[in-house]
Amino acid sequence: MSGDRIVSIVSNYIKKKNEAGEKVLSVFLTSGFPNKNNFVKLALNILDAGADILEIGFPFSDPLADGPIIQASSQEALKNGINLQITFKYVKEIRKNTNKPIILMGYANPVLSYGIDRFADDIKSSGANGVIIPDVPIDEFDNFFNSSFDGIDKILLITPTTNEERVKEIDGKSSGFVYCVSISGTTGLHNIDKNLELIQRNQKLVTKNKMLVGFGISNEDDIKKYIPYCDGVIVGSAVIKSLMNENKNYIQTLDLVKSLKTATNI
């Protein structure tokens, strides 16, 4: 894929942070949630509070990889009329005020319905940098991501059931970073038994890309456990949950992001 020849903005950003002695914090927000009118401001505030990468989830009616919290935020977003067109508008506005990487995350069907080429074009024109589609594994990768995705980072996931050979294959296909899922389960499932050995194994096997760990990371303690073995972490459900519990200024959520970011600085 020619995507490899183009320098990835996402991986470059992570590399620079790492070289400066920092691990990155990627924060997931559901598009247009909790309030469609001040979402751009919320996203910028989250970035100001310390998020290094912004993942924006476009909603789907049947999110198979998600737990109850992100399911609920997706349902709410759909109820408020959030779709890909609105999401791209948000990205355009956010991009005007930040140079940090922006990644879109969502399921295959809304993309297929929007038009795969149109989706890729709008990623580029809106200023987003990458895409995560959890129900397109490498087995379907070449059929789904055609050449219009050249220059867009396609971030793939590895999970506790991914064997060594497959981790290497995924590392080969992925760009931007590799998303290492810390648990077998859906998003937001809190992991009591931290599977550190597996993360360490994956850290050794993922050589081409930077590796970020996500799923079930909700506080500073979680981050501190994982951070020695990866290049950064991804927090989603914990932030969405915090947003659900407050209104207007999202002060607690911004404080949460600040504390999570502090934990990534080793």
């Binding site: 789907f60 069907n109 319905s113 594994p137 379907e140 590895i158 497959r166 077998s184």
Partner: protein, 399 residues
């Protein structure tokens, strides 16, 4: 198991033309590969097939009869109608054929926990039944709407020792029960096997469930040749996910027999209260497969409707999508009311109370039979019996 010459689908990546595939989170790829490997190994294994055949015969009551429906035939005054009696299977529907096959696979995979989704409850009952027989823990996901309209089946599952987990998300029907079952599988993949009840989901399920259900068509072929010394002219079956239909169609795909699938038109195709996926849907990616899908213009999956819980599903098996595009199978639909009247008709004329799912196929006889000639043979897959639907029928039909 059956392998047809000249029709060798799915391909090695699990595709029926452009349909099918494995659109699932990475966590499930390894268990799907393990399942595919063990299935491909056992498919031609003599001991495995003997064990399965023995269960079909001694536990489930196969082969099921192919009954000549004399009164129904006289009612239409044309053609000759036969019923393939899957309603006489143990547990009352064809679903047991697949559940028996998959429980043997689960044992070989050394899984100790079984999960399933159910709509009408027939697949849930079949799964609970085989789990009871083989001593495995059983959890069945069922939408709250379906739990109330199929309350008898909920009790049956509990009596069989299964845990029935109510699903309150989305439309609270089969689609949402399937979502929850997949989420459970992602979480408990180590010790759990997911017995999908229809020819849907990621590869290898559509292929595997088809193969397990094709015993219906294999028996039908032998039986009709014995009775009539020729193949039928038409085969008719209802289509929700499409397992009973594929089961009877598959052994006839390479013949000239006209194959017809009947979907649920609910309150009418011009309303948004139907589940006629192949008639009104378009290509989508859902529950791990690329297939026809009822969805809005933004790719959000529609909340669908059918009076029969087993047809109340916005997707359809990917092989049906292929067979539709290929025009090998023709798909039509009938409404809730037509199905209800058909259930009444069959009960009165033949003394057989059909499941409301099956009643959709029966209702289509009204359209088909006038077009037949006198000696044309029509076989209808009587996929299940109607005991489970008595509450719904009682509510809707004044007698």
């Amino acid at each position: 198991m059956l392998q047809l010459p000249e029709y060798n689908l799915p391909d090695s990546s699990g595709k029926f033309g452009k349909y099918g595939g494995k659109f699932v989170p990475e966590t499930l790829i390894t268990p799907l590969k393990e399942l595919e490997e063990i299935y491909c190994l056992l498919k031609t294994d003599k001991t495995f097939n003997e064990e399965l055949n023995q269960l079909h015969k001694e536990y489930s009551g196969r082969p099921t009869p192919l009954t000549f429906a004399e009164n129904l035939t006289n009612h239409f005054g044309k053609g000759k109608i036969y019923l393939k009696r899957e309603d006489l299977c143990h547990t009352g529907a064809h679903k047991i054929n697949n559940a028996l096959g998959q429980i043997l696979l689960a044992k070989k995979l050394r899984k100790t926990r079984i999960i399933a989704e159910t709509g009408a409850g027939q697949h849930g009952v079949a799964t609970a039944t085989v789990c009871a027989k083989f001593g495995l823990k059983c959890i069945v996901y069922m939408g709250e709407v379906d739990m109330s309209r199929q309350s008898l089946n909920v009790f049956r599952m509990k009596l069989l020792g299964a845990e029935v987990k109510p699903v309150s998300s989305g439309s609270r029907t089969l689609k949402d029960a399937t979502n929850e079952a997949i989420r459970d599988w992602v979480t408990n993949v180590k010790d759990t096997h997911y017995i999908i009840g229809s020819v849907v989901g990621p590869h290898p399920y559509p292929m595997m469930v088809r193969d397990f259900q094709s015993i219906i068509g294999i028996e039908t072929k032998e039986q009709i040749l014995r009775k009539e010394n020729k193949l039928p002219d038409y085969i008719l079956a209802c289509v929700g996910g499409g397992s009973n239909a594929i089961g009877i169609f598959y052994p006839f795909v390479n013949t000239k027999v006209k194959l017809i699938g009947i979907e649920a038109a609910g309150l009418g195709l011009n309303t948004n209260k139907h589940s006629a996926t192949l008639t009104k849907g378009r290509e989508g990616i859902f529950h791990g497969m690329k297939t026809y899908l009822l969805q809005n213009e933004e790719g959000q999956v529609s909340e669908v409707h059918s009076i029969s819980a087993g047809l109340d599903y916005p997707g359809v098996g990917p092989e049906h999508s292929y067979l539709k595009d290929d025009a090998r199978v023709k798909y039509f639909s009938v409404t809730d009311n037509e199905a209800l009247l058909a259930a009444k008709l069959l009960s009165k004329l033949e003394g057989i109370i059909p499941a409301l799912e099956t009643a959709h196929a029966i209702a289509y006889l009204d359209y088909l039979m006038p077009k037949t000639t006198h000696d044309e043979i029509v076989i209808l897959n009587l996929s299940g019996r109607g005991d489970k639907d008595l509450n719904t029928i009682k509510e809707k039909l004044a007698l």
